[in-house]
Point group: C2
Chain length 393, copies 2
Amino acid sequence: MAAKLYFKQRVMTPGPTSVPEAVLLEMAQPIIHHRTKQFQAIFKELSERLQRVFRTTGPVLSLAGSGTTSFEACQICLARPGSKVIAVAGGKFGERWQDIYDAYAKTLDLTVIKLNVPWGQAVTAEQIRQAIEQNPGVSAVALCHSETSTATACDVESIAAVTKETDALLLVDGITSVGAMPVEMDAWGIDCLVTGSQKALMLPPGLGFVGLGPRAIQRLTDVKPQGVYNLDLRRWLKSWQKNDVPFTPPVSLIRGQRVALEMIEAEGLENVCARAARLAAATRTAFTAMGLKLCSSSPSDSVTGAFYPETTPAIDDKKFRAGTRDNFGIHLAGGQSGRGAEWEGKTFRVSHMGYVDAGDTLAAIAAIEAELRRLGHKVEPGTGIAAAAKALA
Amino acid sequence: MAAKLYFKQRVMTPGPTSVPEAVLLEMAQPIIHHRTKQFQAIFKELSERLQRVFRTTGPVLSLAGSGTTSFEACQICLARPGSKVIAVAGGKFGERWQDIYDAYAKTLDLTVIKLNVPWGQAVTAEQIRQAIEQNPGVSAVALCHSETSTATACDVESIAAVTKETDALLLVDGITSVGAMPVEMDAWGIDCLVTGSQKALMLPPGLGFVGLGPRAIQRLTDVKPQGVYNLDLRRWLKSWQKNDVPFTPPVSLIRGQRVALEMIEAEGLENVCARAARLAAATRTAFTAMGLKLCSSSPSDSVTGAFYPETTPAIDDKKFRAGTRDNFGIHLAGGQSGRGAEWEGKTFRVSHMGYVDAGDTLAAIAAIEAELRRLGHKVEPGTGIAAAAKALA
């Protein structure tokens, strides 16, 4: 009997993603106090690097908490009380932003307009334009650039071209797009752009980042805060202008994030995005060659999702992902369910964000193919990986 | 000319505090996904250890964010809309809890009763009893067990004996008390107890912990949430009951916190608290021997604050603390200002929480004495440290 092959553990889930060793070690440095010159220098460099990654000359705030925390802060603070807001959903995260507006509908006197698209499809600029025209008085539009649950990306550039001609601010959940796909905050006219630390920015979870454009900053001065304290962006913006944060920040994560962004800028943001795009294209090619149907008709370059192939008996999601993990060290994400679809157990997802290369991606495709075959999918060995290698060549 | 003595860096600020090397290295482990058995086992152990440190059999939730985030969540979710709430302040943090109630006064229809005590004094159970009697319909009382800005502790046991006979829930900010001073959540009848990771629990900032007693859990089912999403404790409680969290958690911090609590339990919670108490007592003795006036008439055992002695010219706070840091590696906190007092520049503070021992404390006292002398305070060399050593003996 042949000895079992050793495999490294590869976290290929669309967040948390792998953290580079240099970042892990930076976070393991002895603690420093946040009201010191040493921390201020780190924080200033972080803020400047964030601006370059967000492609903005405006403020990018660093909030403690998850990506949801940060996006909620933007939803609360940038909606004009008594107005209408549009929340787009074509997946689990878009539905979450709808839920958040609903949670505040009474206290902020909001009319929440839910623009739903089928899961796996992208909202179009035309749909946004119509929704704004049909609902006079919209003060904000919230949507996902890359909807992680369905691995779908929309055309934010075209959408921003619509919103910037109206009074509606565009709030973009860039949690799985910033640092992995081109996002031009200033050039496209995005009013508010949010991401989290644990995706393309190569850090453990615990920080959220909020970029604010001029119209968003103006809105913050126009509306009066009610029912918000910690998440009051005015407070964070005021502190940021003094190179500070209003509450004790996650010092070790901030140290690590500075180093992770240094790595991104050393490689070059364009190169980082091009890498994700190539890995995503190769993965899609491989999946298609293996007879899998992609989740999305408008696929994101940060994550790829596919439906399990039809087999008898049906492939068990839990067994499949336990197999890629236990036999090949490949950690994948399963599907997610929401109001628009029940994809839990029916799809799986693999990430192309952050600290991941072609070697990792080929290893993942090989593991996926092997486990699908083991569970009954008919495909010639090597089909997926050969197609991927060809696409990468 | 003698060579300059080398000093290690000792972070003696009342948060962030020093993080043990074993905890730093645990956080530097490769990232794992949060929806895995490995993480679930870590999280379960953390939750159980938290219950033992909180001295409760009820849930202790782990929220991403600062201590402020967690306390705000409790303030919002546990106030009965349309009721009165009492917020006690005798320092900067108590004032913050007043500000948070004010921020929600309109949306939650709250009447905020501000019970102010002079900075450096502790609120009494009798004052709480009177405030509740004089204001029928109080649904919650929020206060600091250890007010970090003034290094003052109040008698939570006696206060809880009052509140538990009324309809008012007792919300205790234990951010600088849990893990450093005796706090018996269940035995005393505290309804809601909050702490942060970066104080006595020996972790970097980024996690807040919320213990909920039976009355608080009941309140969560009685009141209807409005204007809250991420900080909705119902969501966190529901997830906790399934050994889960509602949003991507700070995985690395949670790993580190498990190890830090393992260290606390290995030493023994009682021993850890006794250590803080002895270090605090020795520090107070030393300060008094050096002719310093303590900030508090009811001093906390987690942090000691003192006024600068009167000298001509007056001691410059910034120069003093830069001196202890640059000449002796001792990092101290300055004073804080608020509505009740202007102590910034007039006081300094040293922590006794977490990863700190008698050696660190003696080093701090020696540095404080040396720098005070350098800046003009008349005191015989060795006075402070001799008094401290005697107190510790």
